[in-house]
Structure formats: C-alpha cells, structure tokens
C-alpha cells in the first residue's frame, strides 16, 4: 500500500513540476476576477525623480476612484530601457503604457497603438473641448504625425512633461560663497561667453575648488559648444526649393540624413565645415574647466560634487533642477545659490579665444559667419515631443485598453495636471495649466528675430559613428587632432534609416486626401501638411534616390 502511495505521489510531484514549468512559460497577464492590472514603464528613477512621485500620486488618485484598477509603475534605467522593450515586445511581455522619446517611438512604431481615434473624441475628465487632443497646447496640429503599424498618419503617444509653446534653456547654477571667495561678484554673473570664460579662468586658478561639476555624459557636455555654430547650415547644401524657412526646422533631420548618407553611404560632405576648427577649439577649452574626474563620474557624483562645494558651478536643465536644489544645504551654501542662462557665443568671444591662443585667427574668421547670434531653444519646437505610448497588443484586450485610455484621459485632465506639476516640478503639455515658480527661471523670452534655427553639428552624433564619445575624448585629451576626430566619427550608418520612396509618395497622397476632405477651418493646417510631405518627397527623391540635386555647399 505504502509503495503504491509512493508511486502515486512520485507521479504527482513530477507532473506538478512539469505543469509549473509550462505555467511559468505561459502568459502571466491574466487578471484576478474583475481587477484590471495596468503596467506603466518609465525611465524616471523612483529614488531620485520627482516625476516618478508625480506619476505615482496620479496613479494612486486614479485607483482610489477606480477600485477595480491596479496600476503598477515600473522603472527601468535609460541604459537598459531599449533592451527591455526589445525583449518585451518580442516575447509579448512589454508593459501596457510605455514612456517613449521620439526616436524610441520610431524604433518601436510597429508595436504601438495609433491613438488618433481616441484623441479626436472627447475626454471623460476634461470636457473643455470636443476633442481630447484640443485640451493639449497647440491642439491636434501640435501632435507629430508618425508612421505606424497600420498607416502613415498615426499619433503614437499622449504627451507628458513639456510644453511645445514654452521655450526653455540650460542654466548655470553657482555657489555664491565660492564665487565670492574667488574674488568674483556673485551678483553680477556672466552675460556672454567672453565674461563666462573670464569667470572660468579665475575659478580655475583658485585653490581647493574646480570650476564646473561634470559627469561622463560626453554628448551633453560637448553639445554646449556644438550648439553655438552652424545655424541653418544644413540648408546651405540644398536648392532654395527645399530650403523654405517655414519648414527649415521640420526638414532638419531629413537633411541631416541625406547629408550623412550622401552618395548612399559612399560620400561624406560633412567632413570639413568652416566652423569646425573654432567649434572644436572652444569645446576643448570649455571641457578643461570641468572637474578633473568628470569622465568617470555618474550624474549622482556630479551633483554631489556641487552640493559638497567641491565645484563652483553646475549646468542644469529643468528636468534635473528639483533634484539638484533638494541636495543643496545651508552649511555648504551659506550665501545661497545663483543662476544664469547659458550665454550665446558672439564674435567678440572668437576674438577673445584668438587672443588666448585657443584657436587661430583663420579658424575664427571662418567660423564667424556661422556663429549663432541669438538663443536657440532646447524645447518649444511647436510640437509635442514625448509622452506615453500604448502597447498595440492591448487591441486584443478591450477591457484593459479602455482602462488605459481612461487613465490617460484622467492624467491629462487640467485638474490632475495642476496637482502633478507641483509634485513633479514639470511643465505641463495641457492648456492653461500653471507654470510653477521653480521653472520660471528656465523660461526664455523669444528674441525679436525669433529663436535660432536648428544647428548642424550640435550633438556631433549626427555624424554617425557610435564611438564618437570615445573619439571626442581622445581629441580633448590631445591624443588626436580635430581633423582626425571628424574623420573617425564620420560614418554614414544612417543610410539604413532613409525612408523608402514609396512611403514618402504615399504620405503625399494621404496629405492630399486629408486636404480634400478638410473643412474650411482645417484648410490651412492641411495645406501645410501637404507642402511638408511634398518637400520631404522631393528632398529624398532629388538628393538621395535620383541624385539629380547638386549636393554641394552653395555659399
């Protein structure tokens, strides 16, 4: 009897083990009776980011009103975000709502749901307008139209954090006591790069402190100088027909794609632009003011160095301002802190750099016509940039899809956003939501002539090679010349990303159809969309596919 029992129990155990394996491999998204579980993925760190707290509070408030909904917010570091999504989409385990930047949306477009259908209906929580999209700044026209899995006219996200009509810039934050001790006037911060360099030179000579806190984010550091040269430069390679100033910013990346993939990857016209000498020279000089350990520092160490009064200044933007300010203490900042906006490079700065021997007179002369003369906004492009996208797989689960859309409508309502911006310290993309006090310093008034247009070379990344950060550090350390750096970085890897001519042609047809169907109120917007689609088609057709355009610098 005992032996028989042993046999039965042995069989049962083995079966349970196997069943366990199959259960583990199965779909784990099955919900408990009546409860809908929604998973949100964000790169905002729960330990340090006020944005995460903002999302958490909004989710808690929503769940209090909807007891059948369980919202789980999952954090994934920027470094691993892409690989988590890649495997998640491949294995069918990707989260329901995913925070995505514009580039990431393009990568995962096949896996994202077109939200146009929902955005053109009213919101259940904010009925100021007939269409949910009209509750956002700029209305439906401010949503970028993207290529999706089903059509080329998709809207793939609901905006969050960032207002396309509010222009913000980078700030230098400084320790007033350290500036005073160095013999500088903390109440009179630099207004241009010449004064800025004068401050930095004094701080560099002061014992016990280093001028600027820095982390290993090479791109962020070098872009400060890259963004001061090459305004409208991409336009110089194209005929006037596709250089319409109204579409200059919109077509900027297409032009960069064509330029970097010139001659289908065989040629490279961007290897010796006239301002590179001065740009690289000033970039190198500016990097020498960063704390000596910057290349090995994390963002946390960078902040800690400033908060600990080891460095006199730090560069901040409104995304990280709250975290920074919260780390500042009375004992290390007895006189408090000051802020000033990152200045614009003027011709006088080039003269100053020549006098200091950082660049040659010839480099300065060649760069002067390309120097940016007025502020370039780091946001405020007139279009929403990023937010939450919905996993396309939710089409198979209508209950969950409705819950996700309902939550997004709740979160983007004016009432919820008023509370959210206070917690997160964020700019809201929703109309008429207040701008909190902390952010007002970052907001830039538009210059009379308008902001600078997109600049070529601002992030160096548009040159293509994935090791560009390594190469730039070699240049900064004096191991290679800037000409060698440009040659090493230039790599037309983007040729793979050039859109197919049929896709572009289809977009023109769709824009034409939209114009034909547009009401009187919508005519202007639809006409602009058609012009843009046509210019884009012409640009790729002439300068890439047929190579009939003369892709050389025009002046």
């Amino acid at each position: 009897m005992k032996a028989r029992w042993n046999r039965i129990s042995g069989m049962l155990m083995a079966s349970v083990m196997i069943a366990g394996v199959f259960a583990a491999c199965g779909n784990n998204s099955k919900q408990s009776a009546g409860k809908v579980t929604v998973e949100i993925l964000t790169w905002q760190n729960p330990e340090t980011s006020p944005y995460y707290k903002g999302y958490e509070e909004a989710a808690a408030a929503y769940m209090a009103e909807h007891e059948n909904v369980d919202i789980k917010i999952r954090y994934e570091d920027d470094d691993t975000y892409g690989s988590i999504l890649e495997t998640g989409f491949a294995g069918g385990t990707a989260p329901d709502l995913i925070q995505l930047k514009s580039g990431q949306r393009a990568t995962y477009k096949e896996n994202l749901l077109d939200l146009r259908e929902y955005l053109t209906k009213s919101s259940a929580y904010d009925n100021r307008n007939d269409e949910w999209a009209e509750n956002f700044v700029g209305g439906l026209g401010a949503f970028p139209v993207e290529e999706g899995a089903d059509n080329n006219n998709s809207i793939l996200f609901v905006p969050n954090d960032g207002n396309p009509e509010v222009y913000t810039g980078g700030l230098y934050v400084y320790n007033k006591k350290l500036i005073q001790d160095a013999g500088l006037d903390p109440e009179n911060p630099p207004k241009n790069w010449t004064e800025m360099f004068e401050w930095l030179e004094v701080l560099k000579e002061t014992d016990g402190i280093e001028p600027i806190a820095g982390s290993s984010d090479v791109g962020g550091k070098v872009s400060q100088f890259g963004s001061l040269f090459g305004e409208d430069y991409a336009d110089k390679f194209f005929d006037e027909e596709v250089a319409d100033p109204d579409y200059s910013d919109d077509l900027f990346w297409d032009k960069v794609y064509v330029l970097t993939s010139y001659d289908r990857g065989e040629g490279m016209p961007l290897d010796n632009l006239p301002y590179y000498g001065a740009m690289f020279g000033l970039m190198k000089q500016h990097m020498s003011y960063y704390q000596s350990s910057w290349t090995e520092n994390s963002y946390e160490t960078e902040t800690l160095s400033f908060a600990n009064a080891n460095t006199a200044m730090i560069v901040s933007n409104y995304w990280s301002y709250d975290t920074l300010v919260n780390s500042i203490t009375e004992s290390k900042f007895p006189d408090g802190y000051g802020i000033f906006q990152s200045p614009v490079l003027g011709e006088d700065t080039l003269d100053y750099a020549v006098a200091k021997g950082w660049i040659t007179q010839d480099e300065a002369d060649r760069a002067a016509p390309s120097a940016v003369t007025r502020l370039r906004s780091s946001s405020g492009t007139g279009q929403h940039d990023y937010g939450f996208s919905v996993n396309r797989k939710l089409k198979e689960d209508q209950d969950k899809l409705e819950t996700v859309i309902d939550f997004l409508q709740y979160f983007s309502s004016k009432d919820a956003q008023e509370k959210y911006v206070e917690t997160a310290g964020s700019l809201s993309p929703v109309k008429d939501v207040k701008i909190i006090e902390n952010l007002k310093s970052f907001i830039i008034d538009e210059p009379a002539e308008g902001f600078s247009k997109n600049v070529l070379g601002y992030f160096v990344v548009e040159w293509g090679n994935s090791d560009w950060g390594v190469t730039l550090l070699k240049y900064i350390n004096g191991d290679i010349s800037w000409e060698e750096a440009v040659e090493a970085i230039s790599d037309p890897v983007w040729a793979d990303d050039i859109p197919a001519l049929e896709t572009l042609e289809e977009a023109v047809k769709e824009a034409q159809a939209a114009l034909d169907a547009a009401s009187d109120d919508e005519q202007e917007e639809a006409q602009a969309a058609l012009t843009f689609a046509s210019l884009r088609y012409k640009l790729y057709s002439d300068y890439y596919y047929n190579m009939s355009g003369n892709l050389t610098e025009k002046n």
């Binding site: 155990m13 083990m17 892409g82 791109g219 950060g469 550090l473 890897v493």
Partner: protein
C-alpha cells in the same frame, strides 16, 4: 559475449544506433547492459519514467534557453539585418570579414589576453587557500573557516563590483580620500585607461572564489586517508606534499576550473561593462564588450550580424584553448 553483442549492434540501422547511444547516455549504461533484454523492463520501468519526468523540465529549459539560442546564434552569424530592414539577409562570411578587418577587434584582443593571463595566475590563491584549509586538523575550525569563506556567496558579484566603484571613486572614494589625507596625489582608478585593467583585477582581492574552493575541497576530501598516511610514513614535508601529492591529486578539479576560467576570460564583458566609461575605452574593451556594444550601441544602428559572428568566434577560440589544455593536463593518476 561482448564481442557477439557488438557484432549484433554493428548490424543495427543508423537510427537505432543513435537511439541506443542516446539511451545509454541518458541512463548511464553501457552497450552490453542495453542489449540485455531482461534489463528492458528496468530501463523503461516505473522508476525510470518518474526519473525522466523529473528530468524533463531541466532538459526542456536546457534545450530552449541554452541550445536553441546557441544554434540560432551560429546561423544568424551568417546574416545581416537592421531595424528598418528586419528581414535577415544571408551575407556568407561578410560578418567575419568585418570582424577581422576591424582594428577595434585586435585592440580588444590585447585586453582579453591580459585578463586571461591574470585569471590563470589568480587560480592559484584559491588552490593554496583550499590546501591550507584542508590541512587544518580541527574539524570545528575547518567548519568555521568554510562557513566564513562561503558567506560571501550570498552577496551577488555585481554588488561587490559596485561597492568597489564607490571605494575607488576619485572625488568621494575611501581610498582616494585616505591618499589625499596622507598627502599623496589622488589616483584615477576608474578614469585612467592604463590603470583600469589593474583596477578590475585588484577588486578581486583576496582572489579566493567560494565556488571553486568547494570544488577543490570536495576533491581533497574524496582522497583516501591511506594516501596521506603513506606520505607521512615516507617523511614527505609540507612543500613536497603540496607539489607531489595534493596538487596532482586535484588535477581533475583543476581542469574543471580551468575550463571555466578559459570560458569566462575569453568572453569577459560584464565587469568591463560596469566599469566602462568613454575615457577608459581603449584600456577596457574586450571582444565580449565589443560584441555587446555592437548589439546595443550608445548611438547609431546596431550591428547584430557582427555581434553574432563575434560570439561564434569567441566560442571557437574558447573551445580550441580548452581542448589544447585538456590534452596537456593529465588527471588520470
């Protein structure tokens, strides 16, 4: 009898011969046992079936998570594809040509050889530690030391790595703070490409691995007491005992660990990735890390074909070195 059976088996068709080999390996029996009909009931009896059922999850997971990706990797290394063109295109040996034309690959080989050589040398502190532990007379003391040694196993290796990054940091690291207070210059342990390899190696201090220790101790404990007694009667001293008895007798365990060291050194990337920053690129890039960066680049498009092909190259290199090592290290005696 045996010859007769072999004669019969040789006449079997090929598929039955393969089946026989599979059953023999799975049930750990020889051909003779397989051929005895009276054993068939035992072979496919109740106990065997329950055993096979228990083994099935492990076998399935092994096939799905180990063998399938490995075979898939070998095939994919002859293809190329991108995000915009997701359909793989056969390119023959192009990916391999790209690897062997890439100066970064050759630069990374130098770093790999450094880590390989260092890891080989650093196998010996563990061996010495094990023998010292084995020679401790008191069982109670042996037990205490074993527990202390194994306690570190509960902490993931990544935690140790991150802890060292805090300790070695330039601005706030304990070691640099100490150096600074003693009047010395601070050292860029994490930011100097010439130093980073040594930093990674030195963070392995005291160079004694708990897992490996248990393997060696298992080997030493399995040796008959009479061997040690004979050695004592022959007047073998402690040093001679190490070289002539203990070391040769754990050659089998040494071979096992050596294969592990070869594999992890040739494909090393995780520690390098944690310590990576752009400033130390040249000093830290290993072929394993290069493979990772090609698949997950900081900017630009991934080159999956290159990564798969490099993975295959590393596998073949590790296999070759392992086979050569096995040929020259005898553990029969």
């Amino acid at each position: 009898m045996s010859n007769h059976h072999n004669g019969v088996i040789r006449e079997l068709p090929w598929y039955r011969r393969i089946w026989r080999e599979v059953v023999c390996v799975a049930l750990d029996i020889d051909h003779e046992e397989y051929s005895r009909k009276k054993r068939w009931k035992k072979i496919f009896g109740y106990t065997t079936l329950v055993g096979l059922l228990f083994a099935l999850p492990a076998v399935l997971s092994n096939l799905v998570f180990d063998w399938y990706p490995m075979l898939d990797g070998i095939i994919k290394s002859f293809f190329t594809w991108s995000n915009k063109n997701p359909e793989p295109v056969f390119v023959g040996l192009q990916n391999f040509q790209n690897i062997f034309a890439d100066p970064q690959f050759y630069a990374s080989l130098k770093n790999m050889l450094f880590f390989f050589a260092a890891n080989l040398i650093l196998m010996f502190p563990t061996i010495i530690c094990c023998i010292v532990l084995f020679r401790i007379k008191s069982e109670r003391s042996q037990y205490v030391y074993r527990v202390l040694l194994c306690l570190q196993m509960v902490i993931p290796a990544l935690v140790f790595t991150l802890m060292w990054i805090f300790i070695l940091g330039y601005d706030f690291g304990a070691i640099n703070n100490l150096l600074s207070q003693l009047g010395f210059e601070k050292v860029k342990f994490l930011g100097d490409p010439g130093l980073i390899k040594w930093t990674i190696i030195m963070t392995g201090v005291p160079f004694v691995s708990a897992n490996t220790t248990l393997i060696y101790l298992g080997g030493l404990n399995g040796i008959s007491e009479s061997v040690w007694e004979a050695g004592t009667l022959d007047g073998v001293g402690p040093v001679k005992k190490f070289f002539k008895l203990e070391l040769p007798l754990i050659a089998g365990q040494f071979k096992l660990n050596l294969i592990g060291v070869i594999g992890t050194s040739i494909t090393a990337y995780y520690q390098q990735l944690v310590y990576y920053n752009a400033a130390v690129h040249d000093g830290i890039l290993t072929p394993g890390l290069l493979m990772y960066f090609k698949a997950f680049p900081n900017a630009g498009a991934p080159d999956y074909g290159y990564s798969y092909a490099l993975g295959l190259v590393l596998f073949l290199v590790a296999l070759l070195i392992s086979m050569v090592s096995m040929k020259f290290i005898k553990s029969d005696h």
